[in-house]
């Protein structure tokens, strides 16, 4: 019997059931299929035959939070090694094989996880899986590749952090100021000293501990037949042995009692900037959702409050962005505002606090609340337009929460937020003794 999808109040068709683990026939389009290989690899699949393409995305549950003191930057350096070849794939060949068939690919490392993905024409699914499995199974780890990539990462650090206006703030300074716990206190890119101290032995150990099937989630989204796809997954990933369970990391943070503030002289910044951040609860907790709604109120779109106030009405600011930096552990709510010539950081800070006080004191009216929820819905739906984004969401919900169904149901948590929840969240998290401020000044002024 074929089940019919149901339509949720927000308009999205949701398959019933949302997640299947037993498969006898082709799943419905949009249904989430969850499988686990005997070596522990979690596989999440979703068919969508709208266009003949397929996205393969693999999340390893390792990020800079897992690095030991003295080894900062290692997770990211390791990500580079994953493009240096494996038993059957030559150096840089991965990239060429994918782009020659018309596909695209990349990898990225953040605090909590590392991902690798390929989006390819539907008939090249086998190629993408073969490439990912080859480097999970038999990465080419040698001194030449390692030295070469160490230099590349150091160069990347120079370009993206050390020689870019405002570069060190979000990659390094803010986390160092806000966090007490090493896990999030240190940067993803790492320090030059630590990068220099990394050894080839560290690379081997890292692969052995973290790049094992039992520490990964593989998502496949697009135009494929389930039996074929699972057959390929079994063939290529099945023989890879499981590894030890990686050590758990403590991400907890003590509550902040005192304001923290620093001045930073930026060699490349053309104008002063005001940066402020508050610690917020982990992604997925009930306290988290109102904060993401507040992000929309304050920062999303030309009609948002901070934009209207700081840019349009008061004319204090040239560039502005802000909102939630969501993490598996305690995250951030932050603002960056580049100060317009003729104005000061102090004026921006005062106006910023005015707007925070307003959201703490006055409940949102019905229209504004509806507006931000509509924006959240539209943003959520936009991510569902592309196979890659869908695969990445499935990886996240599965790797972080073991609940792939959040792909469909998390939106309800945002839509349930009330004006009172927003006020309460603002009152709880936006207080002067909890703020972390960086005043950025151009070095030559």
């Amino acid at each position: 019997m074929k089940e019919q999808p149901t339509v949720a109040p927000h308009g999205l068709s949701i398959p019933d059931p949302v997640v299947v683990t037993q498969i006898s026939s082709e799943p419905q389009e949009g249904q989430i299929v969850l499988q686990r290989l005997s070596n522990g690899l979690t596989v999440v699949l979703m068919r969508d035959t709208t266009v003949p393409i397929v996205a393969v995305d693999i999340w390893y549950k390792v990020g800079s939070k897992d690095e030991e003191p003295g080894k900062s930057g290692f997770a990211h350096l390791f990500e580079h090694m994953m493009f240096q070849g494996s038993e059957n794939v030559g150096k840089a060949e991965h990239m060429k094989l994918i782009s020659d068939v018309g596909g695209w690919m990349n990898g990225s490392t953040n605090k909590d996880r590392t991902n690798y993905f390929e989006v390819v024409p539907a008939n090249q699914l086998r190629l993408a899986l073969w490439l990912e499995a080859d480097r999970m199974r038999a990465l080419a780890i040698n001194a030449e590749n390692f030295e070469n990539q160490r230099d590349t990462v150091k160069e990347e650090r120079r370009q993206r952090v050390d020689n870019r206006p405002y570069g060190p703030i979000f990659s390094e300074l803010l986390d160092e100021l806000v966090y007490e716990n090493w896990a999030y206190k240190h940067s993803v890119i790492g320090s030059m000293v630590d990068l220099d101290n990394a050894t080839l032995e560290d690379v081997r150990k890292f692969h052995d501990v973290y790049y094992r099937p039992n520490n990964a989630v593989l998502a496949i989204v697009g135009d494929f037949k389930l039996q074929d796809a699972m057959g390929m997954v079994e063939e290529y990933f099945g023989p890879i042995p499981a590894g030890p369970t990686p050590p758990a990391v403590d991400l907890s943070e003590p509550p902040q009692q005192q304001e923290k503030r620093m001045q930073w002289e930026d060699k490349f910044a053309p104008h002063p900037a005001f940066v402020c951040a508050f610690k917020i609860p982990p992604r997925g907790t009930p306290e988290y959702y109102p904060l993401e709604v507040i992000e929309k109120v304050l920062f999303d779109g030309e009609s948002s409050r901070m934009y209207q106030r700081l840019v349009e009405k008061d004319g204090l600011v040239l560039h502005l962005f802000g909102g939630v930096d969501a993490r598996l552990g305690p995250g951030l709510f932050l603002i960056f505002a580049q100060v317009k010539p003729g104005h000061t950081i102090q004026e921006v800070e005062a106006a910023f606090w005015d707007e925070l006080d307003r959201i703490k004191q006055e409940p949102l009216d019905a229209r504004e609340l509806q507006k931000v929820k509509n924006k959240l819905k539209a943003e959520h739906f936009s991510r569902m337009e592309r196979a890659y984004y869908k695969a990445d969401l499935l990886c996240m919900y599965t790797a972080f929460f073991e609940q792939p169904e959040l792909f469909y149901t998390e939106l309800d948590r945002y839509l349930a937020v009330t004006a009172a929840d927003i006020q309460q969240a603002a009152q709880t998290f936006f207080n002067k003794n909890q703020q972390n401020v960086i005043e950025v000044y151009p070095a030559n002024q």
Partner: protein, 449 residues
């Protein structure tokens, strides 16, 4: 022994979704693509007016029109438009190109009607507030000034000028042309061209054909049609013999080379063959130009070619940024590779790889409802056959080695090429005489003796 990468050689089948069509009483063609999966609705208006229609001496008019169209209407202020679009979880934007003008709107499904009402209001009743015009002009003037420091911008401007003149594709914005534009210029262009009988509307997403047509009738049938101006555009008169156009940027460490000749328009039956030829010659990091000028010779970080096709005409072009001291050798390198394309057929392997890439990349680039809507729009605007997108990949797959060689022989015309070089004239001028007479210009495009 190493395993071979498991690459599939079959042709992927791309099924273009059904497009349903109707024409309203005022001449507006409405196309509907039902894509119910995502609860959003996408509107795309394409109008057959382009920057080529800017009044002579007032280049930049349509560009300004596109920036001002959502800055206020007879019924709504700019703030109201922005708030209402945000409220509907929406986006609204306009853009001008050489041949066409586009307006895009997308909204949550439940605001399909209100969304189209705003799109219609912006399209039909813009007021072009004078203070906003001055703001946008000031930004555009600043951009023009900044662009003078971009060698790629300078090269392209010259390239289009010399290949297409006296066709309006040759014209470009200047501070003077922007200053000559007032509210009246923009209003007149709007009245003349932004007309339903000159336009297409694609509605895609979570909406049925019946509802979509009903909405289009309700909000757009009141859009008044008018007879369109009849125009004859002159044919391009490119240089009869190869000529070098050198734009002097003293102390440049690199020379930006852009060379090529006039080509057919988008509708031409040789288009797909030329796309395959171009992929092999210079389409990306596995192209011959890249392999030769970068990998083998080390003259440059990258070298590419492209088939640029517009509504009326097109151009074949090739480009690279090279070290100043190898400007002549690199230019020679381009011509060597063009010659090789003409003289010998490409290998089966190269042909197969090019097709695999072109056929594979197509569905990846056309994944979203808005990109599908864009393809449906292109089919109309470029006057392509009704079933074009279902045939496109088959046409690519049908190209033979002989076709590729014939295309190179017919369309890579070394002796008629314009060779545009942006670089340090003092260091490179003499060596460039090897390719034809050299005409020198400054960054403001004034001739230099």
């Amino acid at each position: 022994m190493k395993q071979k990468p498991p690459i599939d050689d079959k042709l992927i089948e791309f099924r273009f979704p059904t497009v349903q069509e109707t024409v309203l009483k005022n001449g507006l063609t409405v196309m509907v693509i039902e894509q119910p999966k995502i609860p959003k609705v996408y509107y795309r208006v394409g109008i057959q007016v382009g920057e080529k229609h800017d009044p002579p001496g007032k280049e930049g008019t349509l560009d300004l029109l596109s920036l001002l169209i959502k800055k206020g209407t007879q019924r709504r202020s700019y703030e109201e438009i922005v708030e209402q679009v945000d409220f509907m979880g929406g986006e609204l934007d306009a853009v001008s190109r050489r041949d066409f003008f586009y307006l895009f709107g997308e909204f949550l499904q439940e605001y399909a009607a209100q969304g189209l009402e705003i799109v219609a209001d912006v399209l039909m009743n813009p007021v072009f507030p004078p203070e906003e015009l001055e703001k946008e002009k000031a930004k555009m003037l600043a951009d023009l000034e900044n662009e003078k420091s971009s060698p790629a911008f300078l090269a392209n401007r010259k390239f289009n000028e010399v290949l297409f003149q006296p066709h309006p594709y040759a014209r470009y914005k200047t501070p003077e042309s922007l200053q000559a534009i007032d509210r009246q210029t923009i209003q007149e262009m709007h009245d003349r061209y932004i007309r339903p009988n000159n336009s297409y509307l694609v509605i895609a997403g979570a909406v049925t054909f019946e509802t979509a047509v009903q909405l289009a009738r309700e909000y757009l049938e009141g859009w008044e049609q008018k007879p369109l101006p009849t125009e004859t555009t002159p044919e391009p008169q490119p240089p009869k013999r190869r000529t070098v156009f050198l734009i002097d940027r003293p102390d440049s460490e690199q020379s930006n080379i852009l060379l090529g000749n006039v080509l057919f328009n988008r509708k031409h039956p040789d288009y797909e063959k030329a796309v395959v030829m171009n992929k092999i010659l210079g389409g990306g990091a596995s192209g011959r130009l890249f392999m030769y000028l970068r990998e083998e010779k080390g003259y440059t970080y990258g070298a590419y070619s492209s088939i640029r096709t517009y509504k009326d005409h097109g151009a074949f072009s090739a480009n690279a940024e090279v070290r100043t001291e190898v400007t002549r050798e690199a230019t020679d390198g381009f011509f060597e590779q063009f010659r090789a394309m003409r003289e010998a057929p490409v290998s089966e392997e190269d042909l197969k790889n090019a097709k695999r890439y072109l056929i594979g990349v197509f569905p990846l680039q056309n994944e979203t409802p808005s990109s599908i809507a864009s393809l449906a729009m292109q089919q109309k605007l470029y006057d392509l056959p009704d079933d074009y997108w279902n045939q496109y990949l088959k046409a690519i797959d049908a190209v033979t080695r002989e076709d590729v060689q014939n295309i190179a022989r017919t369309y890579l015309r070394d002796e008629e090429m314009a060779v545009v070089v942006v670089g340090d004239a003092e260091k490179i001028k003499d060596s460039l005489t090897a390719f034809g007479p050299v005409k020198v210009f400054d960054v403001d495009n004034n001739p230099v003796e």
